[in-house]
Amino acid sequence: MRLPGPITFDRIFIWLAVLTLLAAYVLGYTRRDRELLPLLAAQVPDVGDFTKIGTRPLLLKAGPHAPSDCAGYYVISRAGGWGGPLHIAGQIDERGYIRNIYVLDHNETLSFFYRMENRGFFSQFLGKHVSAPLLPGRDIDTVTQATVSSQAFAEAIRRGGHRVGREIFGIAIPEETRPWRVGWKEGLPLLLFVLAGVCAKKKLRYGRYLIMGSAMVGLGIVLNASLSIAHFGALLLGYFPRLSDNLFWWLLVGGAGLSVLLLKKNLYCYALCPFGNLQEFNFKLSRINLSLPPGLGRVFRVLPYLLTWAALMVIVLRRNPAAGAFEPFPTLFGLEGLEIQWLVLSSVILGTFFMGRFFCRYFCPVGCALDVLLIIRCRRFGRSPAERENIE
């Protein structure tokens, strides 16, 4: 089935969108080096002055008049997370024990971050000595459904802590080795993409349903790892996570991108997206099909493009990939989020019962980004976002 009416995009609007994004990028770029020290000073106002001891990572000592609970060393370190670079400051006392962890800035999806805070991720570092491994799987527990973020925060804290251990306390802490993170989690997207490719090629209807179910459980409920506009935003900002640490990230983003570029098929939306699959099940469940007033349906298909543009504007202006991620998937599968995210989720879920692929059709920025990629690949303008579900 093909939905009627391709949208003819006025080139002026495309150029306007590209130019405004470029301008926002430049504006965001000029403000990129936010001073980290004022951010720390704002979180520990009682310290007074800091004495700088070293740079890379920034190592400070609290002023002589600082109260006892603020005294000691402060180390600011960074790591690459799920959504981009993050900075933390660790307070280490005179005996080498971690007293406090301050998150200075991060780009993680907010629901992931709240999940980590609520599960006490940061408090498990407190009281540990800087010579401790501070390694997920050893003496640190990662938070499920926020594994990549947990590992990134742990890495930043470990880097800072070990630096203080070596430089201030003269402890010989061996450099960490970086094994590749490969497991079932990395195999899952690879397997799903291959199977989805086979199903799309052979037009296997029930095979597709099987993949959709597996993706909903595996990528959605268990891993909470849906593709988001934050991933595309991160690439746009020039943030490329290290392959050895973030193989899963690359398999998900790479698989979605490569299936479009090589096979000319949007396999992610076709069968992998956990939220897309949920929408299809909901719609089948309700057996109600509402449609928009005549004429408006076609007009509203421009919405995903406008919203993707708005999300990317927020991302490049704030240089924070997570800031533009308005998709409700992490809130649903992680059950954490801001009030407004819960409201968006409720409204979207309601819609999915009455309109086929409600979110994909009118709002989804991921589908839109992959669609744009498909349009560029096919060098054919005018495919509507709703066509992506009919790629057969």
Binding site: L290, S291, L292, P293, L296, F300, L303, L307, A310, A311, M313, V314, L317, R318, A323, G324, F326, L338, I340, Q341, L343, V344, S347, V348, L350, G351, F354, M355, F358, Y362, F363
Partner: protein, 32 residues
């Protein structure tokens, strides 16, 4: 008549969701 009501419901759902998403983007966009 029934058809018209259904279409208005659909329109309301799309517009409410759109408004909520825009509020979210404004909220995160404005945060410094």
């Amino acid at each position: 008549m029934k058809n018209r009501m259904q279409r208005l419901w659909a329109l309301a759902l799309v517009l409410i969701t759109l408004a909520l998403i825009l509020v979210f983007l404004l909220h995160t966009g404005m945060r410094s």
